[in-house]
């Protein structure tokens, strides 16, 4: 009976679209995400103008405060709220509506994140937490900043556990069936969100008593390592979120079928298992880790390249097959048959293309000697504006053009679609200017996280100026992109014509082989994940703790 009822719910859900209560969750999360984009983007422009020497920031809101807020808003708020809002809608759609309990958890999580965020932002505005989004000790912010972060993590956990409850419940009621693919992605993302934020929670709970003064010194290396166990995982959470759209949504939009279900699930499992130890590639020049250990960690990082290559193969195979079905011939058939004028396709497609140089740059940086050249230069900033700022963000943009109409029961008009295409092109142009300039000037030695200076008219520093001007031009274009995108989101949510929009999920090929059941055993995945974490972290952590230096008192360097 229970199962029957659920089945019925499932059907109504698919027929009538998302129910009001579930939609409200996603709409709220999306509004916060795009507000973060608006504010964060504006701050980005200020930084860009400053770095080009065009704008001096006032003492009451200095470059490093701006940078801290920019990083936190875009890298944490935008991505976390978007990911959670998106996957909650996906679960609502594919698992027959959210359970009332789960809905409540999503709201509690929302409240905790917002409270935490306000607690963290106030000290930034007061110039008491100008520690950048990485908040490396021994720089110490006001304790409120860290307490705010704890609330954000707790809020994220709330949402993760909500998702686990939803998924477990569905599986109990649908024995023998595979979790729908989009919810499978959601499960992977929430598993990573939970396990990835455990280390940063430990770090912050260690920093708080130190920043208050209850303990005198802190183990700097330990804190950095815990941070990157989280920071790197966060990167792969975005990546996995983007992948969900590439594997599941894009094929539907181009009118094709999706790639092998088994291999898709395998890619998810691999990314979940192998991810956390990858954090060490952010510490290649850090002291205290033996060369041989670093060397072995390079393998761990590069291993992530394997699922990426599988993805590239999968995407081209889907394009090719779809084009052939539509009557395309020749090697470039796929190119001509793709719907380039549809923003729901164009944005994620450019996102994928941007991942080619982005991923190549990542491989470069994982190499010890090359890392020493680019470490802490603007090259790195160029790299992550390509990867997160373009690949991830453009995929998010592409999603927004159907997800927001879907949750607000409106439709994407041809006009907004056109606007979306223009936004995508402006964003692409802006990021190309900015990211190429950043990579290049980084190679010439220009440091990251440094407000404009000529170092007393030093010739080398002066030679950076032309590139930095390109950076500012790119930044200005991006600002236009931000404004258009936020306009589109608001329009689609509140003003577009009413109507039904579907949640696009592609089917597998008709002759697809059956997916094996082992892909459903998440317990085993989690145990393997923990084993890999142990393999990656035991050596450096024992070294850092066992041979710890005296530690550092807190410093306010600004």
């Amino acid at each position: 009976m229970e199962a029957l009822k659920l089945n019925f719910q499932d059907k109504t859900n698919k027929a009538l679209g998302i129910n009001e209560e579930d939609a409200l969750i996603t709409k709220t999360y999306m509004l916060v995400a795009f507000t973060a984009l608006l504010i964060g983007g504006t701050l980005g422009l200020l930084q860009g103008l400053n770095r080009a020497g065009l704008l001096e920031l006032p003492v009451w809101f200095n470059y490093y405060q701006v940078l801290t807020a920019h990083g936190l808003l875009l890298v944490l708020v935008l991505t976390a709220f978007f990911t959670i809002g998106y996957f909650y809608a996906a679960m609502s759609h594919s698992l027959g509506g959210l359970l009332p309990k789960v809905r409540k958890m999503a709201w509690i999580g929302f409240g905790m994140k917002i409270v935490g965020f306000v607690m963290a932002v106030i000290p930034i505005l007061l110039n008491q937490a100008t520690v950048m989004f990485t908040f490396y000790p021994p720089m110490a912010a006001s304790p409120w900043f860290y307490i705010g972060l704890v609330f954000i993590v707790l809020g994220v956990w709330m949402c993760a556990f909500g998702a686990f409850i939803q998924v477990a419940n569905w599986r109990k009621n649908n024995k023998g069936q595979h979790l729908p693919i989009i919810s499978y992605f959601a499960t992977g993302v929430f598993v990573l969100l939970f396990f990835g934020s455990v280390p940063v929670a430990i770090e912050v709970l260690y920093i708080i008593p130190w920043s208050i003064g209850w303990i005198e010194t802190i183990n700097v290396m330990l804190a950095r390592t815990l941070f990157w166990a989280f920071g790197h995982t966060l990167v792969n959470i975005w990546y996995l979120t983007a992948l969900s759209a590439w594997y599941v949504v894009v094929p539907k939009i181009i009118g094709g079928r999706r790639f092998s279900d088994t291999l898709t699930r395998l890619v998810i499992i691999l990314l979940v298992i192998m991810n956390i130890p990858g954090g060490f590639h952010h510490q290649i020049v850090d002291p205290g880790i033996a060369e041989s250990v670093k060397y072995m960690h390079v393998f761990m990082s590069l291993a992530i390249g394997f699922p990426s290559l599988m993805t590239a193969y999968a995407m081209f195979s889907v394009f090719e097959k779809t084009a052939r079905k539509k009557g395309g011939t020749g090697i470039f058939a796929w190119f001509k048959k793709l719907p380039w004028g549809d923003v729901r396709f164009l944005a994620p497609m450019i996102a994928m293309i941007a991942f080619i140089p982005g991923g190549a740059g990542g491989i470069v940086q994982s190499t010890n000697q090359l890392n020493q050249v680019v470490h802490n230069t603007l090259w790195v900033v160029g790299h992550f504006h390509l990867t997160v700022g373009t690949t991830v963000v453009l995929t998010f943009f592409g999603i927004s053009y159907w997800l927001i109409p879907y949750v607000s029961k409106r439709v994407l008009t041809p006009k907004i679609n056109k606007l979306g295409v223009i936004t995508t092109l402006i964003w692409t142009a802006g990021m190309s200017f900015m990211a190429i300039a950043m990579h290049w000037v980084g190679l010439l030695g220009s440091p990251r996280r440094t407000s404009y200076t000529t170092y007393a008219d030093n010739a080398t520093a002066l030679s950076w100026d032309p590139y930095l001007m390109f950076l500012a031009v790119g930044g200005t274009l991006l600002m236009i992109g931000v404004l258009l995108q936020v306009y589109a989101v608001v329009h689609l949510m509140f003003f577009a014509p009413k109507g039904e929009t579907e949640f696009p999920i592609a089917d597998v090929e008709d002759n697809a082989s059956k997916t094996p059941m082992w892909t459903e055993s998440w317990g085993r995945v989690v145990v393997l994940l923990l084993l890999l974490v142990a393999m990656g972290y035991v050596i450096p952590l024992v070294e850092f703790i066992g041979n710890a230096p005296p530690g550092s008192p807190p410093f306010q360097t600004w």
Binding site: A168, R171, K172, K175, G176, A290, S292, V293, Y295, M296, M517, E520, S521, G523, R524, V526, V527, L530, L531, A534, M535, V538, I539, L541, V542, E543, G546, N547
Partner: protein, 185 residues
């Protein structure tokens, strides 16, 4: 590439001097990475061996117990600090390592695992878990340097390696005790 070639390649790769030197230069990697990989190499090669010599396995390992006993003996032998030391300094012991782990542990493990019942499998995992906790404590608490080749800090690292592996096994055991897969699939 079939499993046998993969296993053989892995064995040869692990035996290459630069690879062996790198892996053996860190105590915990020597014990918890190189040695398990050698077992895995044997595990992969086992299939072909089983197919070639079915009668042998039928005669000597019909219920899986002799094979698993051999596996346990080899594994325990290589957990003793002194054996690791000797593998680094005595050529013949080094060769014995490269033979015993794949062929006397990996192959019997594969042949026996399927023949064992669920209870024996869990008993095996539980006893290795207990043993790992015990070895972990031993390596962490020992005030003496146990190997000539490895410093005390490396020994402590190895101890934590044992403890974290045991902890993962505990997570697995709890998971399989609490979650009934038939509720879901």
């Amino acid at each position: 590439m079939n499993q046998f070639t993969a296993g053989l390649f892995l064995l040869i790769f692990l035996a290459l001097p630069p690879v062996a030197n790198l892996l053996e230069s860190i105590m915990v990697v020597h014990m918890h990475m190189q040695m398990p990989l050698l077992v895995i190499a044997g595990f992969l090669m086992a299939k072909l061996v089983q197919e070639r010599f079915p009668v042998f396995f039928e005669n000597w390992n019909s219920n899986g117990v002799p094979g698993i006993l051999l596996f346990i003996i080899i594994m325990v032998y290589w957990m003793i600090p002194r054996t690791m030391d000797e593998a680094l300094t005595v050529q013949s012991v080094a060769i014995f390592k490269y033979i015993s782990l794949p062929f006397l542990a990996g192959i019997p493990l594969r042949d026996s695992w399927k023949k064992l019942g669920d209870k024996s499998k869990n008993a095996l995992i539980i006893s290795f878990t207990v043993m790992f906790f015990a070895m972990g404590l031993l390596y962490i608490m020992s005030p003496e340097q146990l190997c000539n080749n490895y410093l005390i800090i490396e020994q402590i690292t190895l101890g934590w390696g044992f403890i974290t592996m045991a902890a993962c096994a505990v997570v697995y055991l709890i998971y399989s005790a609490v979650v009934d897969p038939s509720d879901y699939v």
